[in-house]
């Protein structure tokens, strides 16, 4: 019997079907990052202003989100959110248990990455030299002006590399969406594997697609970083 467990031909053959599902993967990665960033801004504000009670809750939330494997978080939210939301949504005629699982995936990654981004935002804002805000106040800027013109732009430069990491992580995590039934690139690959009994080629093709996108994202963020590099005197 010949050894026919891997063929480059099949990698190429399976690619188009997989790439058709690439938009799903990208949509999950980018929408969850965008949502997560909005959430993270609110959380970072609560952290920076040390809002009582909320501050402690957020600390626990951040510890939880950073420590628990993402596929476990995915299942906790996938089973937990419908249970939590059903009493509010059922009267409106919506059944969260029947919702497209993609919503739970986006929600999970948004919530989870918001913890990482909140830390990133608050660290980069408090990382700006305090002399900067003192100087801004001394020339009579208001708090809003100070943030928009002095602190914000500098914090942005500090946050940029970590932001790139978060997006790459969210993108790589989309490879787990299939575990709750989302038909994305990996989902499509598994369908091919079941039909043809060739699992390996599909996964290799898939990994290559992820690799290329990660590389492009890293290059893009490298360029952004160079463009917004902190000019130190």
């Amino acid at each position: 019997m010949s050894i026919d467990y891997f063929s480059v031909g099949r990698v190429v053959e399976y690619l188009p079907a997989m790439l058709r599902k690439l938009p799903v993967t990208l949509a999950v990665a980018f929408s969850s990052t965008a949502l997560g960033l909005v959430l993270a801004t609110l959380i970072a504000a609560a952290l920076l202003f040390r809002v009582p009670a909320l501050y402690q809750v957020i600390k626990v939330f951040i510890s939880f989100s950073r420590a628990i494997p993402i596929n476990i978080q995915l299942f906790v939210y996938y089973y937990g959110l419908p249970a939590l939301l059903a009493p509010y949504l059922l009267p409106l005629g919506l059944n969260p248990s029947r919702a497209n699982p993609i919503y739970f995936v986006v929600a999970t990654y948004a919530i989870s990455s918001s913890a990482f981004m909140a830390v990133m935002l608050s660290a980069s804002i408090s990382g700006v030299d305090p002399g900067q805000s003192e100087a801004a106040l001394s020339i009579g800027m208001t708090g809003g002006q100070m943030f928009r013109r002095v602190i914000g732009p500098q914090a942005f430069q500090i946050a940029l590399p970590e932001m790139g990491n978060v997006i790459v992580t969210n993108l790589k995590n989309t490879s787990l969406a299939f575990t709750v039934g989302v038909i994305d690139m990996v989902g499509a690959t598994r369908a091919i594997a079941t039909r043809t009994h060739h699992a390996l080629e599909g996964y290799v093709g898939n990994a290559l697609v992820y690799f290329v996108i990660c590389l492009l994202l890293e290059k893009a963020f490298g360029l952004l970083e160079r463009r917004y590099r902190l000019r130190k005197g």
């Binding site: 596929n71 906790v76 490879s175 390996l200």
Partner: protein, 235 residues
């Protein structure tokens, strides 16, 4: 209204907890392997060993740019199919089904850990100012002595938090081995939930145990870091 079955939840926390030593092993063995090999590879890159350094760089970039779950599946299927095909050709009776999946999982996790450790160690070694190495060379120290007496002691305080994070990353990665048939805490708890459909409680139990594990590692790293700093005579 969904009611959480706290009795079941507690029982599953216990079940998951009893599997903790296994998970810790799945995290620690590949990390230690990665630490040893990663140190060598980091030096290969820093010393700019021709050809080899490009190979190492390619490997690190490749591993860091791919989702762990896909690497697990690829290595798993490549090995299973390849091994069986090879054994059949040789006419031997050994089959991949007889090899415990834990070995595959550890192999893949070690492969991944090595890439991340290489980067972490390289970052730490590069954090030591060049003047230190030059000063050591000027008084005639050998390369080995420079690393042992000058570079490593100064790189250690920088390395520990980075390596600690990498270790936590590896610990979190172990939650994926259930996908290639390893019976870990996730598998055990899910099997128990299959009977009652109490998946939410089951996964909350797993989450709580992982949370405890990672916070424990974090605290351990913090203590280690403090003792290294004190010994280095710093703050």
């Amino acid at each position: 209204m969904y009611r959480i079955d706290y009795g079941f939840l507690l029982r599953e926390v216990w079940v998951a907890f009893t599997m903790l030593p296994f998970t810790l092993m799945l995290a620690a063995v590949p990390t230690l392997f990665g630490l040893a090999v990663g140190a060598l590879l980091a030096i290969v890159r820093i010393q700019r060993v021709p050809v080899l350094r490009s190979v190492v760089q390619g490997y690190v970039v490749l591993i860091r740019g791919m989702p762990t779950v896909l690497m697990l599946l690829i290595v798993y299927f490549a090995f299973v199919f390849g091994f069986d095909a090879l054994m059949e050709k040789l006419g031997w009776s050994a089959r991949s089904a007889n090899i415990p999946p834990t070995l595959f999982a550890m192999g893949v996790l070690a492969f991944i850990a090595t890439a991340f450790m290489t980067e972490s160690i390289r970052t730490a070694l590069l954090s030591v100012p060049k003047g230190q190495t030059e000063a050591a060379q000027s008084i005639g120290m050998t390369n080995f002595d420079i690393y042992r007496r000058v570079v490593i002691p100064q790189a250690l305080p920088v390395a520990i938090p980075i390596l600690g994070n990498a270790f936590i990353g590896q610990a979190k990665g172990t939650a994926l081995v259930t996908m290639i048939g390893v019976t870990d805490l996730v598998t055990r708890v899910r099997i128990e939930a299959n009977a009652s459909y109490r998946y939410l409680e089951a996964y909350i139990a797993v989450a709580l145990v992982y949370w405890a594990l990672c916070v424990g590692i974090e605290q351990g790293v913090r203590l280690l870091n403090k003792s290294v700093r004190v010994r280095a005579g710093g703050v």
